[in-house]
């Protein structure tokens, strides 16, 4: 076990507290860099989605995880980013320009959403962001001169400084990865700055933050704007990856998926966004696997445990029928959300921390270390 002795104020805000971090993150980057030359094209495509979802997850973490403002409207910000890119691309605007423009516009709209959100809290804020997302969705469907309505828009191949970057090429993956890494590093820096500290203070207690001199309104709007802008950047990549966008892609369902990303990953650390994104994106290949291979495996197990050939075939058919049921994905989503909220509210990253602490403190680990306080009094709940 490593003991960190803090001898300097900078020790508290160092990006890499000790050399172990440099080694492990260096290895991770190396693995990610060679991934496109090793993995199949399908998995590569999923990995690109992991990067995009993780970027949105980081954006959502800034708002929900660190500022404590829940949002169920991030699909709308993603849509605004995607549509800005698609619209500007029609007029041959170069990629770097419309990439930045999308982020700027989305950030601006995020700030505009932030203003009404100043007076709202908790459930009201959730409902307000849902309404905002609905209105954006409807505008996208109706403003046909710009968005082409329900027919959707095609997005041409990305061209970066004259070089074409097709959506399934390794270069596109590297672009997404670069955006993700830059976002994460930027967010880490943000969280070490006074702004980030103010965000966390607002999350923990708005009243206390205000009495410490934090301009709550300003920082809430800032948080909304930053979160929206990052989501807008992700939207540009999302549009390029899909190469076709239409309003029905950016529904409440997608917003909920983003929330699930940070819920499953863990809402208190940026690791959560990445872990959650991996989980959400990889659930599709996993379900396909379940559908294709599981019946055979279960039948095999049944056969080993003494079931006859006929019974085994029967089992196989039943499992196959179950696995191909419509809506199985939705049910699994639902169960996963409920199980995480009930049993692992800190998410995958929280679980990892618990396991790590268990081994570090081996015989002395206490479950109560991670116990959260329950509040049963109304006046203490709204703070």
């Amino acid at each position: 076990m490593r003991f960190l002795f803090k001898t300097d104020y900078d020790d508290d805000i160092r990006l890499f507290p000790h050399s172990g971090y440099v080694v492990s993150y260096g290895l991770l980057i190396a693995v990610l860099l060679i991934a496109p030359y090793v993995l199949s094209s399908y998995l590569m495509s999923q990995l690109v989605f992991v990067c995009i979802y993780a970027t949105v997850g980081v954006a959502l973490l800034i708002l929900t995880g660190f500022t404590g403002q829940a949002s169920l409207g991030h699909a709308a910000f993603l849509a605004i980013g995607a549509y800005t890119a698609a619209y500007l691309q029609k007029y041959n605007v170069p990629f770097p320009v419309y990439f930045l423009a999308a982020g700027l516009l989305t950030g601006l709209i995020g700030a505009l959403v932030g203003f009404p959100a100043l007076r709202l809290q908790g459930i009201y804020l959730v409902i307000a962001t849902i309404s905002f997302a609905f209105i954006v969705e409807e505008i996208l469907a109706r403003w046909e001169s710009v968005t082409n309505g329900n027919e959707g828009m095609r997005i041409k191949t990305l061209s970066l400084l004259g070089v074409a970057v097709p959506r399934d090429s390794p270069a596109f993956y590297f672009l997404c990865l670069a955006v993700l890494v830059l976002t994460i590093v930027g967010t880490l820096n943000l969280l070490r700055s006074p702004t980030g500290r103010a965000f966390v203070a607002i999350r923990d207690s708005e009243t206390a933050a205000r009495s410490m001199g934090v301009n709550v309104a300003l920082y809430k709007v800032k948080s909304f704007a930053i979160s929206a802008a990052i989501t807008g950047f992700a939207g540009v990549l999302f549009a390029h990856k899909l190469s076709f966008i239409s309003p029905e892609m950016f529904t409440l369902q997608l917003s909920i998926e983003f929330i699930i990303v940070i819920l499953i990953g863990g809402t208190f650390s940026l690791h959560g966004a990445v872990l959650g994104a991996i989980f959400i994106v990889m659930i599709d290949p996993f379900l396909t696997y379940l559908k294709d291979d599981m019946p055979g495996i279960i039948a095999g197990v049944a056969a080993t445990f003494g079931a006859g050939a006929e019974a085994a075939a029967n089992v196989q058919a039943k499992v196959a029928a179950f696995a191909s049921l419509n809506g199985l994905k939705g049910a699994i989503y639902g169960v996963i959300i409920v199980l995480f909220v009930l049993f692992e509210p800190l998410g995958l990253y929280g679980r990892w921390l618990k396991i790590k602490l268990f081994f570090q403190l081996f015989p002395l680990y206490k479950r109560a270390t991670f116990k959260r306080q329950k509040i049963y009094v109304k006046s203490e709940r709204n703070r």
Binding site: L120, I135, L263, A331, K378, R383
Partner: protein
């Protein structure tokens, strides 16, 4: 003028449905400060239960209706016990997510069991219209309005006049203090969920002749009920119904007088306006915060 009255009445009927769903939100919110995002899905499930009893087993409409309400009340208790009780007292966001998850689950499972077709229940109100002069009112819509008025009155009396209702209000204010005063808080919460599931079922069954039953009906209507609940001020029973009716009328008027597309957006525009101008709603109480 006639068009206007016709739209008004159909808006009121639609609004009553929103009001009934919002009533379910409000009941749960009043007693536990939890917002149940699966309320619309409970309504959908209630409709399916009623379909099973009436359409598939061939029971009498009223018997099937009562059966569905009873079954859903039990189901509401079960959902509360499994999903909500372990996380009561945690941040609202956790509970919202848990109920969203529950909603997902119910929607998919209902789709698996009853299929994805639109189902219909034969009701005594399915046919027939009431004519007042040139005005034509369908019985199924009138039945929704009547049921809403009755349920709303019942709940208003229940919360303000009965011991159990007072216990519910007390546990909403301060669960610990209520517990020390001898109120069985757990049982109270359980009963509230049963009642709210039962109200949702009433909405689902009454709605069956109008919108049919399918697994996504809860999502669509449940989300429209939020503006209703907010407009009325979360936590006020008359507010939920008044808010529901207002939203229904606004939607219906917007569909008739405004360009296409406004019908679906109008409730949310109203919602945002309310949140901006008067976040506590029409009948809501202003909550002071404690540091």
């Amino acid at each position: 003028m006639l068009d206007f009255v016709q739209q008004l009445v159909s808006g009121i009927a639609l609004g009553c449905v929103y009001g009934l769903i919002a009533l379910g939100f409000v009941l749960v919110y009043k007693a536990t400060e939890v917002v149940n995002f699966a309320q619309g899905d409970l309504m959908m499930l209630g409709g399916f239960f009623a379909f099973t009893f009436i359409g598939m087993m061939g029971l009498n409409y009223w018997v099937g209706f009562a059966g569905a309400v009873a079954a859903m009340a039990l189901f509401g208790m079960l959902a509360e016990r499994i999903v909500v009780r372990p996380i009561l007292g945690y941040p609202q966001f956790s509970i919202i997510m848990a109920t969203i998850g529950l909603g997902y689950f119910l929607r998919s499972v209902a789709g698996m069991i009853w299929g994805t077709d639109d189902l219909k229940i034969e009701t005594p109100f399915s046919q027939g219209v009431l004519r007042i002069g040139a005005l034509v009112l369908a019985y199924d819509k009138l039945s929704v309005i009547a049921a809403t008025v009755i349920l709303c009155t019942l709940f208003y009396l229940f919360f303000n006049k009965t011991t159990l209702g007072t216990a519910m209000r007390a546990s909403s204010e301060n669960m610990l203090a209520a517990y020390y005063m001898g109120i069985p808080v757990k049982r109270v919460v359980s009963i509230v969920w049963a009642i709210s599931a039962a109200v949702a079922t009433c909405a689902g069954v009454l709605l069956a002749p109008i919108t049919f039953i399918h697994s996504n009906v809860g999502l669509v209507l449940g989300l429209k009920a939020f503006p209703a609940a907010v407009l009325g001020g979360f936590g006020s029973i008359p507010g939920a119904v008044v808010g529901g009716v207002l939203i229904g009328v606004i939607e219906s008027m917007a569909g008739f007088y405004l360009p296409e597309g406004w019908k679906d957006v109008a409730p949310y525009v109203v919602l945002l306006a309310v949140l901006l101008l008067k976040p506590e709603g029409l009948f809501g109480l202003h909550v002071r915060k404690k540091v």
